[in-house]
């Protein structure tokens, strides 16, 4: 049943996401950089630094390696935005995950299209990472379906009991793959905002100027979307607790980033599948059996 009020609400949420997510995502990134600096006993940049960076990049003249690259990056951004709109307007969770995967594929294509050895390796690793986190994302969706009997975000978000109670292990598994999605140590294989590693900046090596800015903005959209997933786990506690929980999850990710060395991709894939298999599957089986 879908009346006009509902539709309006959905449009509002979707539009709100489009407008506010980059703001929130950028602020979050600024907060991330300050907290990281403080953990390293440094003062760190201003909160608005990520915005300065992006505006600066937009001012630069990009040396585009080829036209396809820009095209793929724009597709990546559009698909990430689309994914977010789908999610925040209360759409289908499976579809969201699917759209996110498509976005990821565009990013990989963008990196492949440059023919630089670093970005090729970065792209290969990005693919491996997708292989690593995809199963867990699906398990999250399935788990939520088992609990709420719906794949629709608007149903999940209004579900009466906190989902985290039913899916604690799935939540831990999700936090685990968040380190991959946020591109944080120990799993920041394909790209790293710290830029100190064997493949220079990996997947973003050949992007420069405005193209790199698009990459950053897409990343902000993506981060807010991912925190939206965290929100779902705590939705029933009310918006305040849920938002705070999402932020706490983000802080935990920053802490982990600073407490671990980067690990190799072999280990990443193995570890994330093990986590998905043990935590995720066991949790789901328990739910299914109790039903």
């Amino acid at each position: 049943m879908m009346d006009t009020k509902n539709l309006l609400e959905q449009l509002l949420w979707g539009g709100g996401y489009l407008l506010l997510a980059p703001l929130a995502g950028g602020l979050l990134a600024g907060f991330d950089r300050i907290l990281t600096a403080r953990m390293q006993s440094r003062k760190g940049p201003p909160v608005l630094q990520p915005f300065y960076d992006v505006f600066k990049l937009l001012e630069k003249r990009g040396t585009v390696v080829n036209g396809f690259q820009n095209f793929y990056m724009i597709c990546f951004l559009i698909f990430v935005m689309l994914t977010g709109v789908l999610f925040f307007s209360g759409g289908d969770l499976l579809l969201t995950i699917f759209a996110l995967t498509v976005a990821g594929v565009f990013l990989v294509l963008g990196a492949y299209s440059t023919n630089s050895p670093y970005s090729t390796i970065g792209a290969e690793r990005e693919l491996l990472q997708m292989m690593a986190y995809e199963p867990m994302l699906l398990i999250v969706a399935i788990g939520m379906y088992l609990v709420t009997c719906s794949f629709q975000v608007r149903d999940i978000i209004t579900f009466s009991a906190p989902i985290v109670y039913s899916l604690p292990a799935v939540f831990i598994g999700f936090i685990f793959i968040l380190t991959i999605k946020f591109r944080k140590s120990p799993f920041d294989l394909s790209s790293s905002h710290h830029g100190h590693q064997e493949i220079v900046k990996g997947i973003s090596t050949e992007f420069s100027g405005p193209t790199l800015a698009l990459f950053e903005i897409a990343h902000w959209y993506e981060n807010i979307l991912l925190l939206g997933f965290v929100y779902l786990f705590f939705a029933a506690f009310g918006p305040v607790v849920a938002v705070v929980s999402s932020i706490v999850a983000y802080i935990i990710e920053i802490f982990i980033d600073n407490a671990y060395a980067r690990l190799t991709w072999r280990f990443t894939v193995r570890a994330s599948w093990t986590v998905a298999a043990t935590f995720g599957v066991v949790n789901i089986l328990v739910i299914a059996l109790l039903k």
Binding site: L35, A37, R38, M39, Q40, S41, R42, K43, G44, F255, N258, A259
Partner: protein
């Protein structure tokens, strides 16, 4: 094998004051020994050119007839050889480092005739 061995340090750092020295807003007193730049008490100079000869980077030019002592800050490596060589002890090592600059220029010290 242990996990999160660094957690104590990073948590403590996150909640306590950073180690950053807020240069250029806060400047630290230089140490007494710090080798910054060469200063010349030009009125004592006898233009003997010993410093010019000893300087390993040819940063110093002494123009005896004009009573001019020149130093190229962009060549000086603060080794102090000139200070050690100077017979009149008019050269000294100041603690302040020389400032960056968009152009290379030579700093001249001119001895006033009247002071002799």
């Amino acid at each position: 094998m242990a996990h999160l061995t660094i957690s104590k340090i990073i948590t403590r750092s996150a909640v306590s004051k950073y180690a950053t020295r807020l240069y250029p807003f806060v400047k630290r007193e230089p140490y007494k020994n710090t080798r910054g730049h060469i200063a010349n008490e030009i009125n004592l100079c006898i233009f003997c050119s010993l410093c010019q000869k000893k300087c390993p980077t040819h940063a110093i030019t002494v123009k005896k007839p004009d009573k001019i002592w020149e130093i190229d800050r962009m060549k000086c490596i603060q080794c102090g050889a000139c200070v050690d060589a100077c017979p009149k002890k008019c050269l000294s090592m100041d603690q302040q480092y020389s400032a960056p600059s968009p152009v290379k220029s030579i700093e001249s010290f001119h001895q006033e005739a009247s002071t002799l």
